[in-house]
Amino acid sequence: MQVFQIHYRNTQGTLMRILNAASRRGLDLPWVQAGPAAHDHQVALELDVNSKQVGQLYREWYAIADVIHVGSGAAPAQAQEWNGAHPPAGVPMQEGRSAARA
């Protein structure tokens, strides 16, 4: 497993293009975290890749218009568990409508 950190301008579709470079190669995305970083945005992805794919991914990410920098590092510590309700379903219809009105 390898972690990639990609700095990008948070323009429409840039994050999706970054992720697509992995998904089009059939790579699983077990861990992804994206958010603001300094003046731009950063996404970190954990991927199981071989050395040839690393080179391809670097170059393909750099070819995306709003990617600023690509870096990589060791696998992250366990990703933090998601504590929110998931999926946000199971709310009775009437209750949901009340909430919406409120």
């Binding site: 429409q12 579709g13 293009r17 040839k52 391809q56 170059r59 218009a65 709003d66 600023i68 920098h69």
Partner: protein
């Protein structure tokens, strides 16, 4: 106050757009309403795929950005194949699509499709416009990305309410690109490394692809190749970059490349690549591609490096910069080995003797007759299939943009609408469109566009009543199980063309059995090529004619099949 539609068109004009191809529909109606008086000519095709291929044809032959317009939903999804085609073949293309009203986006409204999402992986850049204010910036940036670096397709999706809304318009804007990451440029001194590699090499070769043509560096490339004087060849999109009469030129390389080119590429110990992706149709089995070679890759797009085989030296940058720099440096200081012995083997008579040019079957002879009678600056557009490869093998043009085809995606139905775009871009040029009977029917409706505009395109159908290339594979690799490739119940193309009010006639294969062809046949071909109106010529091709040489899937280039194996 201008409507969003008028602002959009004004911004297109500011980008130099004079001609667009499209098909109207609900969400894009405001743009069509504003066309009159915009200074932009609109060509109505009969299908959105026809529009995008026509825009591609225009872009491929001019190097300018092609523009296609479609409505939301099905109109936009009909553009998809052309967008994918433009991505694969590095064609500068901007598609403007109408979208449902902003408040309806995401509600599965009538004719709503997530065009932005659907095209995300096929485009170089795209935007769903969210406010009227951003239209000028989006169009300026879209055109920048379409034409800069490695060119490619851009989609701009504009909700119909924004096209209708009005605002003060202060004029088009210029886009200033963000600074790109450092390091993606050729380092100085690469010439030293390449010279050292050349001095150590015994069998160097040079391969040219579309990138060299797109860069506009062809004169420099030709001087460089003449100076290097090593065996050279081209991918299907590189055809025309090297003059066919150059003594070092061996023709097209790859799955249906010449024996001489493929053999030299397999034997080489140093491969210089200029603007080619090295895709699987060029390399054959990647693990056995140029097995003894070090590779030097001149490329503008770093994403294209090492896709198939790692290169030993990458020279990253616009070939318009790197080729002249390399050429000038070589001329100034360097003496290179004379590879006379290797040239003698690679370009020698022994290999040329078995080249398919000496084994002409009637269809190949027919294409030879056509091509030999074309004016020098003609443009040949080939569809996809056997006829495409025959045309690529036989058309020997010195014009870098003289042979146009859907090479990377291999999209059947490309040629006829692309020819519309080419002929509109080059009204005084002879445009020859070669299709198969399968592909022609995929965009046959564009005969109506040809007729309406009275475009003097010379249309040829190589009619073998099969999906010929698939059938060839079925014959060779699926024990002649011709599953669903039989088109023997084809319509009468001559009558169909007549219904579109296009003059048409049929030519039998037998006319090509005598060599040289009879005066009558020659005159018929000349009349066809010299006509000032659209013409269709249907050539009856033997149903089981095959394209050779052929490198079977999974084989090395050295394992090409050269001809039919005798039946047992």
């Amino acid at each position: 106050m201008l409507r969003g539609a008028e602002i959009t068109l004004a911004c297109l004009r500011a980008e130099g757009v004079e001609l667009v191809f499209g098909y109207p529909g609900g969400a894009i109606m405001p743009l069509y309403d504003a066309l009159d008086g915009s200074g932009i000519r609109h060509v109505l095709t009969r299908h959105e795929q026809g529009a995008v291929f026509a825009a591609e044809g225009y872009a491929r032959v001019t190097g300018e950005v092609g523009v296609a317009i479609a409505t939301s939903g099905p109109g936009a999804t009909n553009l998809i194949t052309g967008i994918a085609d433009a991505k694969m073949d590095s064609v500068p293309l901007v598609c403007i699509t109408g979208q449902v009203r902003s408040p309806l986006i995401g509600t599965d409204a009538f004719q709503e499709t997530d065009v932005f999402g659907v095209t995300l992986s096929l485009t170089k850049w795209s935007r769903l416009v969210r406010t009227l204010d951003e239209i000028p910036e989006v169009i300026a940036e879209g055109f920048h990305w379409a034409r800069s670096g490695r060119p490619g397709p851009v989609v701009i999706d504009i909700p119909t309410d924004l096209l209708k809304a009005k605002k003060e318009f202060s004029g088009p804007v210029k886009f200033t690109p963000h600074a790109r990451p450092a390091g993606a440029k050729a380092e100085g001194g690469f010439t030293d490394t390449i010279v050292a590699m050349l001095q150590a090499a015994k069998k160097p070769v040079a391969l040219v692809g579309a990138g060299a043509k797109l860069s506009g560096a062809i004169p420099d490339l030709r001087r460089l190749f003449d100076h290097l004087n090593i065996p050279s060849f081209a991918t299907v999109h590189g055809l025309g970059a090297i003059p066919p009469e150059a003594p070092h030129y061996l023709g097209m390389v790859g799955m249906h490349g010449t024996r001489a080119a493929n053999t030299a590429l397999h034997e080489t110990d140093l491969l210089l690549v200029f603007g080619a992706r090295l895709d699987d149709r060029v390399t054959g089995e990647p693990t056995r591609f140029a097995p003894h070679a070090k590779i030097v890759h001149f490329e503008i797009d770093p994403a294209q490096l090492d896709r198939v085989r790692p290169c030993d030296l990458a020279v990253i940058g616009n070939l318009a910069d790197t080729i002249p720099a390399f050429e000038a440096e070589l001329r100034r200081h360097r003496s290179l080995p004379d590879f006379k012995e290797w040239r003698g083997v690679a370009c020698g008579a022994e290999r040329a003797e078995l080249d398919p040019r000496g084994l002409a079957q009637p269809t190949i002879r027919f294409l030879d007759e056509l091509f030999s009678r074309l004016p020098e600056d003609s443009v040949v557009i080939a569809d996809v299939g056997q006829h495409q490869m025959w045309a690529a093998q036989r058309y020997r043009s010195s014009s870098p943009r003289g042979f146009i085809t859907s090479g990377g995606l291999g999209a059947m139905g490309f040629a006829l609408p692309a020819a519309v775009g080419v002929q509109l871009a080059k009204p005084d040029t002879c445009v020859l469109c070669v299709s198969g009977d399968g592909g022609f029917q995929m965009n046959i409706q564009e005969l109506a566009t040809v007729h309406r505009l009275n475009l003097p395109i010379k249309l040829v159908i190589i009619d073998n009543k099969y999906l010929g290339m698939v059938r060839q594979w079925q014959q060779l690799f699926y024990e002649r199980n011709y599953a669903e490739t039989d088109l023997s119940d084809n319509p009468d193309f001559v009558e169909i063309a007549k219904a579109y009010r296009i003059h048409s006639f049929r030519m039998k294969e037998d006319t090509m059995r005598e060599f040289p062809v009879s005066n009558e046949t020659g005159d018929q071909i000349d009349r066809f090529l010299n006509s000032t109106e659209p013409e269709l010529l249907v050539f009856d091709c033997a149903p089981e004619a095959n394209v050779y040489p052929m490198v079977p899937a999974g084989a090395a280039l050295s394992e090409m099949l050269l001809e039919e194996e005798p039946a047992e």
